[in-house]
């Protein structure tokens, strides 16, 4: 019909090729996007993954925690509550997390103001460095921290030799160590989100405030800060969730600080599965609570973005000589502070194991550690293992995120979409320990959902865990790209005669791929260094890098552990550079 009519313009008869495309009359055609059958397939894939990966395992954990000998009972909770160690670990986790949020805010917010409001030499370099700890795998960061600040770390040795002390000047244990490390690794949440929030604020508003007679402090408190609140709350919640989930740091230098993740790990090691499950549910409840708050505040960020129009802000150059020097010196000090742990790791990776005893710096250097981790078969296969498992997980996440995002952006009620995005975010919000425990419980023995197939103990368990934990990153990256996409482009393609797969292949895909690829690479590098869930679920024949690092550390092969860490950081750095390229292409 439309096709035939098109030809009266030129007076040409409809050519055969076109008429084969003309539809059967009165065939109900869909409204936009995709026709019903592909939509059904997307729905089945999305639903299947969410049921198997998110709903069933987590529900299973909750149900199991509410049962004793297949009878409904609160006995598990009563017992957990009666053990003072459980209550204590809950309170400890909360206290650690709240203090972490506080310290991270104190470090991250002023830094964001410094970098977003003032210009000084090498500002850009420092601004990038400041976000560095975000991509440092927690286990490797912990390792670097121990080498630098631990009681036999370089700093301690330095102080000891300078002041001729008999014993190490400090021990990197307990609250101070934990909070220091948490602040180092998590302040970037505040730094990055506050910076983004500051960029969004219309400079004209602050100027309007000034023109109405408010002083700069007054403007900061009454104009700027209220607009930053969503960013600050989001950063606080992210920090809180990450801190609640923190595992490697308390494990390696928590000392007497017994946090909940450690308790779950310990209970499982002891074989007290019921207690582990119950504690898992308690930990999950806190994380999900934070997630729901986080989602609510994400909505208000849109309000801030909608108000953005008008004047852009110019960076205030720091011109006075003294202030300039202070800023630069501060920047250099700060950058070295950030780089020092990684530099230490590199140094130790070249140290000869066994020769470094009392000296401040390792006395002898060698390539043996690298030779060992890169060439010895049982040592180097962990790279192949981690790379392949992370790649499988990241690519699966990429494909899957297209299903989810297409559904989430298509027709449907708002409530349904909110539920979908909440379900997708759950595995990301849950601590790795919780995800691992849930999968282990759900798929550790033959279950009706999987037939008689047992997932635990196979190669596939870790790729599945990586996929579940990090696919939300890909989904969010893709969704952000999709939301930036002008819907008129797809409509224009449709009006020009392109079917849904042509529209997808020729318009949507090329435009969102850079963003999606950046998200996929991020998921890939985070999966590469994953430790928390891996340690609970790995199969000895298929160890990931992080497990190798931990076992080298346990055997006091510090050099080898550091070498693993350096190679891992190298892979991550290369991936992040590629991701940044993609990101730039997107804009």
């Amino acid at each position: 019909m439309g096709d035939e009519a098109g030809d009266w313009v030129t007076g040409r008869p409809g050519d055969g090729e076109r008429s084969t495309q003309s539809p059967r009359p009165h065939q109900p055609a869909p409204h936009l996007h995709i026709s019903p059958s592909p939509r059904l397939i997307l729905f089945l894939i999305t639903g299947g993954v969410l049921i198997y990966g998110v709903i069933y395992p987590n529900l299973h954990v909750v149900v199991s925690s509410l049962q004793r000998n297949h009878q409904w009972s609160l006995a598990n909770y009563r017992e957990a509550w009666s053990q003072s160690v459980v209550l204590e670990s809950v309170l400890t986790s909360l206290a650690v997390s709240i203090l972490t949020v506080l310290f991270c805010a104190l470090a991250g917010v002023p830094l964001a103001f410094l970098f977003e409001r003032y210009s000084f030499p090498a500002r850009k370099l420092f601004a990038v460095l400041a976000a560095l700890p975000l991509v440092l795998p927690p286990l490797v960061g912990t390792l670097a921290f121990i080498f630098l600040c631990g009681e036999s770390g370089i700093l301690a040795r330095l102080v000891q030799s300078v002041f001729h002390l008999e014993t190490p000047p400090w021990s990197l244990r307990g609250w101070t160590a934990l909070l220091l490390f948490h602040t180092y690794t998590m302040y970037p949440f505040f730094y990055v989100l506050t910076g983004a929030g500051l960029r969004r604020i219309d400079a004209g508003l602050a100027e309007a405030g000034r023109s109405l007679g408010a002083g700069s402090v007054h403007v900061l408190l009454s104009v700027v800060l209220p607009q930053l609140t969503p960013s600050l709350v989001a950063a606080g919640l992210l920090t809180f969730m990450t801190s609640m989930a923190s595992f490697s740091a308390p494990l390696l230098f928590g000392g007497g600080v017994r946090v909940l993740t450690l308790e779950i790990f310990a209970a499982r090691q002891r074989g007290d599965l019921e207690l582990a499950l119950t504690e898992t549910v308690i930990l999950a409840a806190f994380s999900l609570g934070a997630l729901i708050f986080f989602q609510r505040y994400e909505g208000t960020r849109k309000f801030a973005a909608a108000a953005m129009k008008g004047t852009g802000r110019r960076l205030k150059p720091i011109t006075s000589g003294k202030a300039r020097t202070t800023a630069v010196v501060g920047g250099v000090l700060f950058a070295s502070l950030l780089v020092l742990p990684v530099a230490t790791l590199v140094l130790v990776s070249f140290a000869q194991d066994g020769r470094w005893t009392t000296q401040t710096l390792p006395p002898a250097y060698t390539l043996a550690n690298y030779a060992r981790v890169l060439t010895e078969k049982d040592a180097s296969e962990v790279f192949t293992n981690s790379l392949s498992m992370s790649a499988i997980a990241a690519l699966a996440a990429l494909v899957w995120s297209f299903c989810v995002v297409t559904l989430a952006m298509g027709k449907g009620s708002r409530g349904w979409k909110r539920l979908l995005s909440l379900l997708v975010l759950i595995p990301w919000a849950l601590p790795g320990t919780v995800v691992a425990v849930a999968l282990a419980e759900a798929y550790g023995k033959p279950s009706p959902l999987l037939g008689s197939y047992v997932l635990i103990g196979t190669f596939w368990i870790l790729p599945v865990v990586y996929f579940l934990r990090f696919m939300p990153l890909v989904v969010r990256a893709l969704q952000a790209s999709m939301e930036q996409l002008d819907p008129a482009l797809e409509e224009a393609a449709g009006s020009l005669g392109a079917r849904w797969w042509q529209r997808f292949r020729r318009v949507t895909l090329p435009l969102v791929l850079p963003g999606a690829a950046a998200g996929t690479l991020l998921a890939f590098v985070i999966a590469l260094g994953e430790y928390v869930a891996s340690v609970l679920l790995f199969v000895p024949s298929n160890r990931p890098i992080s497990i190798a690092v931990a076992s080298e550390l346990r055997d006091f092969n510090l050099g080898a552990a550091a070498a693993y860490g350096v190679v891992l950081i190298g892979i991550i750095a290369v991936s992040m550079i590629i991701a940044a390229r993609f990101d730039r292409r997107r804009s």
């Binding site: 439309g2 539809p23 055609a29 008129a488 482009l489 409509e491 005669g497 392109a498």
Partner: protein, 358 residues
């Protein structure tokens, strides 16, 4: 038989009605306008014609076939979007070729059609350019070239000129009209700009609040608005509230103005006669008011005082107060009048239009 026919088409978004019971016919070769203020449902109507929205009820027919549920890609209509919707990752050639590739045309034909489409919009040799290198006006032309390259059965425009500056808008307007005429295309054109609609369209439907108020040639709409809202929307109008005094069968009806207590006489058709003392509106365009210092003219001459004088280049607008009745006149020369001066304003009976109160 009309080429495009909308029959009782309605569309709701959530619970707010966007388009209510719209019926219209577009003839083959016609340049048809949908004119209305923003939010009146004109774009939604256009999107339903394009297939981008599905009507809740009613049917859309094209060439005597029901296309209500046909997906946009199967309609073969070309559409020019308000923001142009050029594909940012494709160059000019690939943008224009997009619809032809979707139809799997042979390479040589695609190249030929793209070249001639770009020549038609006066952008020859722009094939290799990136679309973000082009100016707004050039992007606009690429969007038009892309829509006409598929030899559309119907060409749809969604406020295509609203992002251009005034001078470019008027220039493009002329070229657009000429292009559509030359290709013998049928077009539906959505705009909120009355001047643009008048300049481009053979026929126009005025839409307000989701409803079609009146359809007609530009001059008809301007001179014979069927309703007060149309009279208000299309250009400036003096709207005078009146009561019918006499319902004699004589040619002239007698009305009393509610403000100023004047008596106005104008010819009424018999079917317009209505109960006495029912409020009516009398409309007269500002350019039809005659203002002078003396009362020598006959018919509907009211004494008035000059309240405001606005010089606007070729014309001047005079705001008048005739014993409480506020009027606006558009004159070429203000005739030496100054604010506060007394004068006489004449409302020629043949220019007065009787409108029912809504």
């Amino acid at each position: 038989m009309a080429l495009l026919a909308l029959k009782n088409v309605s569309k709701h978004f959530d619970s707010t009605p966007a388009v209510a019971d719209v019926s219209l016919n577009v003839e083959r070769g016609e340049f048809f306008g949908l004119l209305g203020p923003s939010g009146c449902g004109k774009t939604t109507t256009l999107r339903m014609i394009a297939g981008l929205e599905k009507p809740d009820s009613g049917t859309i027919e094209f060439d005597e076939k029901n296309i209500t549920n046909l997906s946009p890609e199967r309609r073969g209509f070309g559409m020019v979007f308000q923001n142009y919707a050029l594909f940012p990752h494709l160059n000019v050639f690939e943008n224009v070729a997009f619809g032809l590739r979707a139809r799997h045309k042979p390479k040589a034909e695609i190249a030929g059609r793209v070249t001639s489409a770009l020549e038609l919009v006066q952008l020859p040799n722009y094939e290799k350019r990136r679309v973000d290198e082009l100016s707004g006006g050039q992007q606009q032309r690429v969007a038009i070239a892309r829509a006409i390259a598929i030899e559309p059965a119907l060409l749809l425009f969604d406020e295509p000129l609203s992002n251009l500056d005034v001078a470019l808008r008027e220039e493009t307007r002329g070229e657009l009209r000429e292009l559509v005429n030359r290709l013998g295309l049928t077009a539906v054109y959505v705009t909120h700009d009355q001047e643009e609609a008048f300049a481009l369209c053979d026929r126009i439907s005025v839409m307000m609040g989701g409803r079609l108020l009146q359809t007609g040639k530009p001059r008809e709409l301007y001179e014979q608005p069927a309703q007060i809202s149309v009279a208000r929307f299309l250009g400036r109008n003096n709207l005078i509230r009146v009561l019918l005094l006499s319902s004699s069968k004589s040619a002239l009806g007698e009305f009393k103005t509610l403000e100023g207590d004047h008596t106005l006489r104008l010819p009424i058709r018999h079917d317009e006669s209505a109960p006495i003392n029912k409020p009516y509106f009398i409309a007269i365009r500002p350019e039809h008011l005659l203002v002078s210092r003396s009362s020598e003219r006959s018919g509907n001459v009211l004494p008035a005082r000059v309240r405001e004088l606005n010089f606007a280049g070729a014309t001047s607008s005079i705001k008048l107060d005739a014993n409480g009745l506020q009027l606006e006149a558009l004159v070429l020369q203000p005739d030496g009048l100054a604010i506060g001066d007394s004068c006489f304003v004449s409302l020629p009976p043949e220019r007065l239009l009787l409108l029912k109160d809504e």
